[in-house]
């Protein structure tokens, strides 16, 4: 069974701090996606990583896909209150990539 485990489950930091959240699996994924979900809204896609070892940057957010394509990380530099939200990773299910497997998410609170 393919699973995506995200850690930490909760994170509360002060504005200006750096942080890293993780998305891990024992299975290989052809790609992984990162989403941010704010309260009362649906998830919004931030990035898709496809190639093992790939690093993508989106302003202060850096996404990395593990060499073996089993894990990914999201690093935020100098966090801002606007970064607060639930960060979800998701990847296509083997054999039926219409369905995404979702992690439970990391709930991030950035305090002023």
């Amino acid at each position: 069974t393919q699973l995506l485990e995200q850690s930490p489950q909760f994170l509360s930091i002060q504005e200006g701090e750096n942080l890293t959240v993780y998305c891990n699996s024992s299975s290989v994924f052809s790609s992984l996606q990162w989403y941010r979900q704010e309260p009362g809204e649906g998830p919004v896609l931030l990035v898709t990583v496809v190639t093992g070892g790939e690093v993508k940057k989106l302003k202060r957010l850096t996404f990395q896909f593990g060499d073996a394509r089993k894990d990914s990380s999201l690093h935020i530099t100098a966090a801002q209150t606007g970064d607060t939200g639930l960060y979800l990773c998701a990847g296509p299910r083997a054999g039926n990539n219409r369905k995404l497997i979702w992690g439970l998410g990391t709930s991030l609170a950035v305090n002023p």
């Binding site: 009362g40 809204e41 649906g42 998830p43 369905k99 995404l100 979702w102 992690g103």
Partner: protein, 113 residues
């Protein structure tokens, strides 16, 4: 342009009643997905529509759940004889085609008393 919209935004119902949840996808998007998001459970795939193809219903948890998509646009998710464990946020997403970026609506928060 308008994003994915869902209605109602909140629904409180009594156990045993039927509910209908509506999703208006982005115009021109051929793919439409329904998900359920529960505390501690993450997003659970329910059903997928792609154009005129037969829907992928493999994620529906029981035969109390059904969905249709009329005219390739608006979709309705129906839950019959609701149970307390059906309480969750029901999210709809659409994409231009299969495998492309999914755009989510704000969800319908369902509470079954």
């Amino acid at each position: 342009g308008a994003g994915v919209s869902q209605s109602p935004s909140n629904k409180v119902t009594e156990k045993g009643k039927d509910v209908e949840l509506r999703c208006d996808p982005i115009s021109g998007h051929t793919a439409l997905y329904w998900y359920r998001q529960s505390l501690g459970q993450g997003l659970e795939f329910l059903i997928y529509f792609q154009g005129n193809s037969a829907p992928d219903k493999s994620g529906l948890p029981s035969d109390r759940f059904s969905a249709e998509r009329t005219g390739g646009s608006v979709s309705t998710l129906t839950i019959q004889r609701t149970q307390q464990e059906d309480s969750a946020v029901y999210l709809c997403a659409s994409s231009p085609g299969w495998g492309e970026t999914q755009y989510f609506g704000p969800g319908t928060r369902l509470l079954v008393l």
